[in-house]
């Protein structure tokens, strides 16, 4: 019974995890991962390594398995085969979504998913408390330290002016930044960002690129993106996915000259960009 209660109490957090061991310079390992939906191989023996502090872009035509790959890393989809490790020691396949979020993997969805009826501030407060025990949630006030932390993140994503506005009334780009802010306030080691600039104006795109670049180093950032211009502006290392596998990896300039990549993008009607 006491076990049950303590489990219940852990509406937020369970025991703090030891810091992720990225001593080999690699933060995320995907090895030989496969998943099948109704006979369709969405991911087919995919192997991928993300370095600590790296900013990596992943491109590929529709149906290449980009979103499914993110689903697997964040625990939403369980693969049929393969290994997924966070650092040297943490087996991600044994954890569910909240647990994965707590050990430091943040995910930004393709569609901006902020909680629209809440204010910007409340959204960040919500994100900040994700690792709290139930008791920690039973309060209506912010402490000074918490306030400072939220202010710092608001500054970072450039939403300080909007703090008291409802998230639902923000512009599209602002919602995207708020969502990134919600991830940042959790101080993740790895950020997974799905199509951050879809629907953004060029100015917003520029700011977003700047933001993501500033995050690399302290965090590893994986960006899935269609927009080649944007990819060029942020990443030095790019992975091309095709039919659930890694087709090619390298600097964007090299890849654009790679006949296999050209084939995939031109043979398929979904032009890149």
């Amino acid at each position: 019974m006491s076990e049950l209660i303590s489990e219940l109490d852990a509406a937020g957090m369970h025991t703090p995890v030891e810091p992720v061991d990225a001593s080999h310079g690699i933060l995320l390992y995907l090895e030989e991962v496969s998943v099948t939906f109704d006979g369709f191989k969405a991911i087919d023996k995919l192997s991928l390594y993300i370095g600590d502090g790296e900013l990596r872009c992943i491109i590929g035509p529709n149906g290449a398995g980009k979103t499914t790959m993110m689903d697997i890393i964040t625990g939403k989809t369980k693969p049929d085969a393969g290994r997924v490790f966070f650092g040297q020691t943490v087996d991600l396949l044994k954890l569910d979504e909240p647990a994965i979020a707590r050990i430091g993997i943040g995910r930004k969805f393709q569609k901006p998913t902020v909680i629209e009826p809440l204010t910007v501030l409340e959204n960040l407060e919500l994100a900040m408390s994700g690792a709290k025990r139930l008791r920690g949630l039973m309060t209506t006030r912010l402490t000074g330290a918490e306030h400072d932390r939220i202010a710092a993140v608001l500054e970072q994503v450039g939403l300080l002016e909007q703090a008291r506005r409802r998230a639902g009334v923000l512009a599209h780009g602002q919602k995207q930044w708020l969502e990134i802010g919600m991830l940042l306030i959790q101080e993740p080691r790895l950020l997974l960002v799905d199509e951050p600039v879809a629907g953004m104006t060029p100015a917003e795109m520029e700011r977003t690129a700047e933001l993501l670049r500033s995050l690399a180093g302290a965090h590893s950032v994986v960006v899935v993106e269609h927009d080649m211009g944007f990819v060029r502006s942020i990443a030095d290392w790019v992975t091309v996915l095709h039919q659930g596998r890694v087709l090619a990896e390298g600097a964007l300039e090299d890849l654009q000259a790679d006949p296999r990549v050209i084939e995939v993008y031109l043979g398929d009607d979904h032009a890149a960009g």
Partner: protein, 537 residues
């Protein structure tokens, strides 16, 4: 050689002639004997009557059966004024009578002038027995059968000889079989242990309920171990066959309940499963179908009403469904919880409308002749109406399958459900398809209502009692999967009927519901889920 044959033929002819001549004489003698046996009835006590009955039964006279039957039914009277026994034909104060001995109608007589000849149960038993023996020699095989069956119910060693005689000449296989059984039943009481054991072996595996008691008694009490063993084996065989029969019965009832569930759920499988619309008024659409059946019976002879009611019910429910879709549901696509509430409101309105128009009381829908009665499949007796409903369910399912797979509408429905935007781009008018699909699902609900009207009371609450079940069937089978609905309906029906014998009907229903609640929690997507990223949304 020739002369001997001739002589023989002559003799035969002569005897035949004599016999022909003798018949009226013999008849006259028999009539006299009959009257002689009847005359003392007036004054006889019950013991005397037993003997008189034996006397009558021994006579080979065509009136004996009628007289004995009348006596057993207390319809035999003595008309003192005319000094003759009469048989009452009705129960009026001025009673219609006929002469007991000749069967000639005698018009009416006042009951006060007649003395009833009473019978007691012992007498009735004896009469039943003797009548049975008389029936044995009847030319009608049905009567012979009844006679042997009566013997089985009430075995009497005294009749054994008649049985044996009959068995020697009987040609009907069924009756031969029954006779063998009856003789074996008598042999169970034989002093010879070998005879008893053989008789038990003959009786083993027979389903007639009268045989189990004597066998069980023998298996428990017989002095001879071999006979006991034979009886035990025979009993086991009987019980095994009874068990098989029981299973077959359960299966049949389960299939028939399953068919009802499928009929109720299959329309929902279209609206909920294919379109994703929660229609809480689905049950009320079935109710409309049932009331349509009732209405057709007000205009048409019962035997013709159902073939008319089916298309009519489809039409009525489909139109109601289209009205609901155009009037309410189309404003709520993509908001399933609101759809649920709004259609629930519609269901309340329909219920109350029916209550106000047709009265809150149940209406009784008649069953046509061709659906009543039973059909014997070997030893299994199945009721025709359930059999018809199973067949009807299969037909409806097949038609729906065909409609979705082979017609233009079906193609458009599948296109719209898979990718609405693309279908629209290809020129499919999706609003029209929505309305028609909803009409199709609703129409099937109406048709299900016709079937339900043959099984349950037709009243304003008809729909409510099926709505939870229907949703359970669809969800259990896996939403969007017609075959899943079929399997789910049948298995739930059979499961329900299997649990029923030891849990009772209500508890069985609760258990099945509880199982479903647990099942959905274990496998939220049902038996046959649609997997993949699209299904997650």
């Amino acid at each position: 050689m020739l002369s001997r044959s001739l002589a023989r033929a002559g003799f035969l002819t002569l005897s035949l002639l004599l016999a022909l001549l003798a018949t009226p004489l013999a008849r006259a003698a028999d009539d006299a004997a009959l009257r002689a046996a009847l005359a003392p009835m007036r004054e006889a006590d019950f013991n005397d009557k037993l003997q008189l009955v034996e006397q009558l039964a021994a006579l080979d006279h065509p009136r004996v059966a009628a007289i004995l039957k009348a006596l057993a039914d207390s319809r035999l009277y003595y008309q003192d004024a005319e000094n003759r026994a009469v048989i009452g034909l009705d129960e009026a104060a001025d009673i219609a009578i006929e002469d007991a001995a000749s069967g000639a109608a005698l018009g009416r007589a006042s009951k006060r002038d007649l003395g009833r000849i009473t019978a007691n149960n012992r007498l009735r038993n004896l009469i039943e027995n003797r009548l049975a023996s008389l029936g044995l020699s009847s030319a009608d095989s049905g009567q012979r059968k009844a006679a042997v069956q009566a013997f089985l119910k009430n075995p009497d060693p005294a009749g054994t000889e008649r049985l044996k005689a009959r068995l020697a000449v009987e040609t009907d296989n069924d009756i031969q079989d029954l006779l063998t059984m009856a003789l074996a039943l008598v042999d169970l009481a034989s002093p010879d242990a070998g005879v008893r054991a053989r008789a038990a072996t003959i009786l083993g595996g027979r389903l007639q309920p009268e045989l189990r008691g004597p066998l069980a008694r023998m298996a428990a009490e017989d002095a001879d171990p071999a006979a006991r063993e034979a009886a035990r084996i025979a009993l086991t065989r009987t019980e095994f066959r009874l068990q098989l029969l029981g299973w077959a019965e359960t299966l049949f009832f389960g299939l028939s309940l399953g068919s009802v569930l499928i009929l109720a759920a299959i329309g929902l499988a279209v609206t909920f499963g294919v379109m994703g619309v929660i229609n809480m008024a689905h049950g009320e659409l079935m109710m409309l179908g049932a009331y349509t059946t009732w209405l057709t019976q007000q205009w048409l002879p019962v035997n013709w009403s159902l073939p008319v009611a089916v298309p009519l019910a489809f039409l009525v429910a489909a139109l109601a469904g289209i009205a609901i879709e155009r009037g309410v549901i189309r404003f709520l696509y993509g908001r399933p919880l609101e759809t649920l509430l709004a259609t629930f409101g519609v269901s309340l309105i329909l219920q109350q409308a029916v209550r106000s128009i047709f009265s809150p009381l149940n209406r009784s829908v008649a069953t046509p002749d061709w659906m009543s009665g039973t059909l014997a499949l070997g030893p299994l007796e199945v009721t025709l109406n359930r059999l018809v409903i199973i067949g009807f369910c299969i037909a409806v399912f097949a038609l729906l399958w065909w409609a979705l797979q082979r017609t233009r509408l079906g193609l458009e429905v599948r296109a719209v459900t898979q990718n609405r935007a693309m279908a629209q781009a290809m020129g499919v008018r999706s609003a029209r398809v929505d309305a028609l699909t909803f009409g199709l699902g609703s129409g099937i609900a109406g048709v299900a209502g016709v079937a339900l009207s043959q099984l349950t009371n037709v009243g304003p609450n008809l729909g409510q009692s099926y709505i939870v079940d229907s949703f359970m069937v669809v969800v259990f089978g896996g939403v969007g999967n017609l075959w899943g609905t079929l399997v789910a309906g049948l298995s739930l029906g059979v499961a329900n009927k299997m649990v029923e014998p030891w849990a009772g009907a209500v508890l069985a229903k609760i258990l099945v519901l509880a199982f479903l609640v647990l099942f959905i929690q274990k496998r939220p997507r049902g038996l046959f889920p649609q997997r993949g990223r699209a299904a997650e949304a």
